[in-house]
Symmetry: C2
């Protein structure tokens, strides 16, 4: 590893919080007849295409809350929920504000925060990330989001934006993420990168390949492993 | 008071932190021959005119760190410090990241944070506010700044921006500030307002008039008083 970073920027969905388990649980509680795991995956599957419409310019700048809502309206009929009233849709859409962290996260972040500035770098909007952090107790020093930079990852403006906010060279910022594509884009901007294994990101029935890929500065089992590797 | 707010947005310089005392102390430690109190006031006096150059369009979008630096370069000769080298100027300019909170702040914010979402709404840039919070232990749920909205207070985009970030009507956001002009602008946007007395903002030798003005929902001695008035 090069010199230690000053700032650790964390991807959020999948890396910090278990979107699959949290959304599936919420759906099952509301509609026991629905396959919660399939619903969660269908909702998330709309995420990259929706952001791509923004990136390509087909859709103007749109917050993730609003993209989540567009996707929700699209998938409800597929699960027999087309009659869901407006209020219930709005309430369900905020399930993304109520995602639970993976079990190692609170302890790992508390250790890391003592030695580093820790922030989010998520495509989620600021309000979503703040509500999530407050509910879950995530101790961010600062919430950075695509909304601050008006660009979605993997746009270089997001990774370089973190370095600019803290007036640091990109090499003193480390992106922490459970997704190799996010890390590769950060690396291309000169950031350090740490991969976190989240084998259950898509649920226990669809285990994810978490084998190391070359190029990352660190490959960690979880946030406690990251803290140990960073001397925190 | 109307219904209680959901979000409390705090002005920072003067309201949360004692810029005058902190800057004066830092100058006196570095240059005992300089009048630290006068230096602090001169530096701060350049702040509104510098922002006005941005607001009027004479200067493009510029972060407070860079405005502070422009003002610093202007005032150094007045205090016999024109020979200060570049590195020392850069280091001194970050004194604004190292401001100390007023004595009631940490306790008051801890109480308020249990019941409300607490965020900054400052013209300071995100990096400055994050470094300040980390050093001083300010437990913000979220750091909002002119930098997020690309507009300086009292531009309505800043006050309404807080409401938009949290998907709330403006009336469910309360601005907390030690400056009546800031509060008046927030009120014109429909926010609730709380005035905080900071009689020593400009130093013990220039006490500030902190008498109540009509229109504010609350007039508080300090953050503990605010917490008590808000049931926190």
């Amino acid at each position: 590893m090069p010199q230690p970073p000053a700032v650790l920027a964390f991807d959020t969905f999948g890396t910090v919080v278990d979107w699959h388990g949290s959304i599936a649980r919420e759906i099952r509680a509301l509609h026991p007849q629905v396959d919660g795991a399939a619903f969660a995956r269908a909702w998330r599957a709309g995420y990259q295409p929706a952001m791509e419409r923004v990136r390509s310019g087909a859709l103007g700048w749109t917050l993730i809350d609003d993209l989540h809502r567009l996707i929700l309206d699209e998938i409800l009929p597929r699960f027999g929920l087309q009659a869901m009233p407006e209020d219930a849709r709005r309430q369900l859409n905020k399930a993304w504000h109520r995602l639970d962290p993976w079990p190692d996260v609170l302890n790992g972040l508390a250790r890391l925060k003592r030695h580093y500035t820790i922030c989010t770098l998520s495509n989620g909007n600021i309000g979503l990330l703040t509500n999530m952090a407050k509910r879950a107790g995530l101790p961010w020093d600062c919430i950075l989001s695509a909304e601050v930079f008006r660009a979605y990852k993997p746009d270089p403006a997001t990774y370089l934006g973190v370095a600019r906010v803290f007036d640091l060279p990109p090499g003193e910022v480390m992106l922490v993420a459970a997704h190799h594509s996010d890390l590769a884009a950060a690396r291309a901007c000169g950031l350090q990168t740490a991969y976190i294994e989240r084998p259950l990101e898509f649920g226990a029935d669809q285990p994810k390949d978490v084998s190391p890929q070359p190029g990352n500065d660190l490959h960690c089992r979880d946030f406690n492993d990251l803290a140990a590797r960073l001397g925190a």
